[in-house]
């Protein structure tokens, strides 16, 4: 693999990673739940794209293709379908006003991006394909956390958790040339699927018991 190909691959990966970041920021200010789910699907598609590019440029490493395929099937199709079904069953499709308003949220996430870059600075000297995506992975982590605490609907918190997972997978693909061993990737994949299913069950039960998905109502236990 010559250097111009590697250059192109690096650029593509950087571009897709930047796309993931932009989508994350859009999710921070998005109010419609169904649109948030679609944004998540798009973000996962970009992640699968990054994995596919890494696989292609590393002499067709087969199991990274597996990772790309699993991400595609699981996070781009299956999970959004599951979440869509849940939203329709619950019949709540809009987020209520977040704790921090749109503009302040966006500014804070801009700050997180800077923080992510600062943390990843010492590691940019590593010679890996797409090594500057570590900063984006850390930013996805931080903004995912923020999204979890800023929003009050349970489904948005689930989506925030999933974007944090996306960030971790981005770091995994970006940092390790061949990805992690397949057994680990499979394990993580199935874990995420099962986690979302369990969360779905819980969300449904919360809705039934509280007649609302507003998690700020879950505040009885104190002390």
């Amino acid at each position: 693999m010559n250097s111009s190909e590697s250059e192109l691959a690096s650029q593509l990966i950087t571009l897709l990673a930047a796309g993931m970041l932009v989508i994350q920021l859009l999710m921070v200010v998005q109010r419609m739940l169904l649109t948030s789910i679609r944004l998540f699907a798009l973000q996962s598609l970009m992640l699968a794209g990054i994995a596919a590019i890494v696989a292609f440029f590393h002499n067709n490493a087969i199991h990274v293709y597996w990772v790309a395929g699993l991400t595609l099937i699981g996070k781009v199709f299956f999970l959004p379908w599951l979440l869509n079904r849940l939203v329709r069953r619950i019949q709540i499709d809009q987020e209520i006003a977040p704790l921090l308003n749109s503009t302040a949220s966006m500014l804070l996430c801009g700050g997180f991006t800077l923080l992510g870059y600062i943390v990843a600075r010492p590691f940019t000297s590593l010679e890996r394909l797409g090594n500057n995506t570590l900063a984006i992975a850390i930013t996805l982590l931080l903004t995912g956390f923020f999204l979890m605490f800023n929003r009050r609907k349970a489904i948005t918190q689930v989506l925030a958790l999933l974007t944090v997972e996306n960030g971790v997978m981005l770091a995994a693909v970006a940092l390790t040339s061949y990805g992690m061993p397949l057994v680990v990737e499979l394990g993580i994949f199935f874990d995420v699927m099962v986690a979302v299913m369990v969360l779905g069950i819980l969300v449904y039960r919360i809705r039934e018991t509280f007649s609302s998905m507003d998690v700020s109502k879950l505040s009885q236990l104190k002390g």
Binding site: L12, A18, T103, L107, G110
Partner: protein
């Protein structure tokens, strides 16, 4: 300050001639997407001719500002247009500060237009002016940051021609994320500055929903022609900026007639493609409620900031 009289005249002619065509195309294509026939693409020319012929009715409360606004707006927009490289890499006019002067000229025009809206002492005019200023307060920083992002790559020069020359060089990367983010930010700024959906509906007749239209409600006759023409020229100028800075394909680097002709062709193609994008965005979105517009614009601001950061951190 380099200028060649011929270049200035040619570019002015191009600006004045092309601007109504772009507006007409956008209106026509929007109608086609909405399953209507729509006005022909030459309609804005006929409208301008009609306005120039008509009498003017001016409110008795208006002062000299009201009469000065159309001229100031027209001239400042043309000057700003002359600074943007359209067909050739070197723009005819290159004032001190480059991009800063560009933004400043557009801001001057907008300032006077807002004054004109207030001057006639009508309630709608004042409302339009205040709304316009609110939007401008957020779009101008985004515009500047996005332009600076591109300027960084051009040896940190804010001269627009310089940026284009640098873009021709080998270090320009098609897939540079900084450029993608800056383009996204500038696109939103374009929508805001030209008063398109989702920020403002140019075809509305409900005064309470107007922003740009409300400021020019009192104008008639040739003043209205000048104001409308300036709005189209501003739209053309911003689109040219967007198209040429980010996709400098086919732009002429020398001044031979053949390359200029080819460059004109490419330029038209890029403008029409951009116009198509604007039409798509207008047709698929609904107008935002006014208090939600700052959210969208701050998103553009954040995108522009990220773009600027990316140039430093994405090495």
């Amino acid at each position: 300050m380099m200028f060649s009289v011929l270049a200035i005249m040619l570019q002015t002619a191009l600006l004045l001639a092309l601007a109504p065509l772009i507006s007409g195309c956008i209106k026509n294509w929007k109608a086609k997407l909405q399953n209507r026939r729509g006005p022909p693409v030459w309609q804005p020319y006929f409208d301008l001719a009609k306005f120039l012929r008509k009498d003017m009715v001016i409110s008795e409360h208006a002062s000299w500002i009201f009469r000065a606004v159309p001229y100031v707006l027209f001239i400042s927009t043309l000057l700003a247009g002359l600074m943007v490289p359209m067909v050739s890499v070197s723009a005819p006019l290159s004032l001190f500060g480059g991009a800063l002067a560009f933004v400043g000229l557009l801001a001057l025009g907008r300032f006077f237009l807002a004054l004109g809206g207030l001057d006639a002492a009508s309630a709608f005019g004042g409302m339009g002016s205040s709304r316009e200023m609110t939007i401008a307060a957020v779009t101008e920083p985004a515009l500047m940051l996005a332009i600076f992002t591109v300027a960084i790559a051009a040896d940190k020069s804010t001269n627009l021609s310089q940026m284009l020359i640098a873009a021709q060089g080998p270090t320009w990367k098609l897939l540079n994320p900084a450029h993608v983010l800056a383009f996204a930010a500038l696109f939103i700024v374009l929508l805001a500055e030209t008063g398109r959906i989702p920020i403002d509906n140019p075809a509305t007749h409900l005064e309470l929903t107007m922003i740009h239209e409300a400021m020019i409600l009192e104008y008639s006759g040739r003043y209205l022609a000048l104001v409308e023409w300036s709005a189209s020229v501003k739209q053309l100028v911003l689109m040219a900026l967007l198209a040429n800075i980010f996709f400098p394909i086919g732009i002429a680097t020398d001044s031979s007639a053949a390359s200029l002709g080819l460059s004109l062709g490419w330029f038209m193609a890029k403008l029409l493609a951009l116009a198509g994008a604007v039409v798509l965005v207008e047709t698929t979105n609904a107008k935002l409620r006014l208090f939600r517009v700052p959210d969208l614009l701050s998103a553009a601001f954040i995108l522009a900031t990220l773009a600027l950061l990316s140039t430093f951190l994405f090495q």
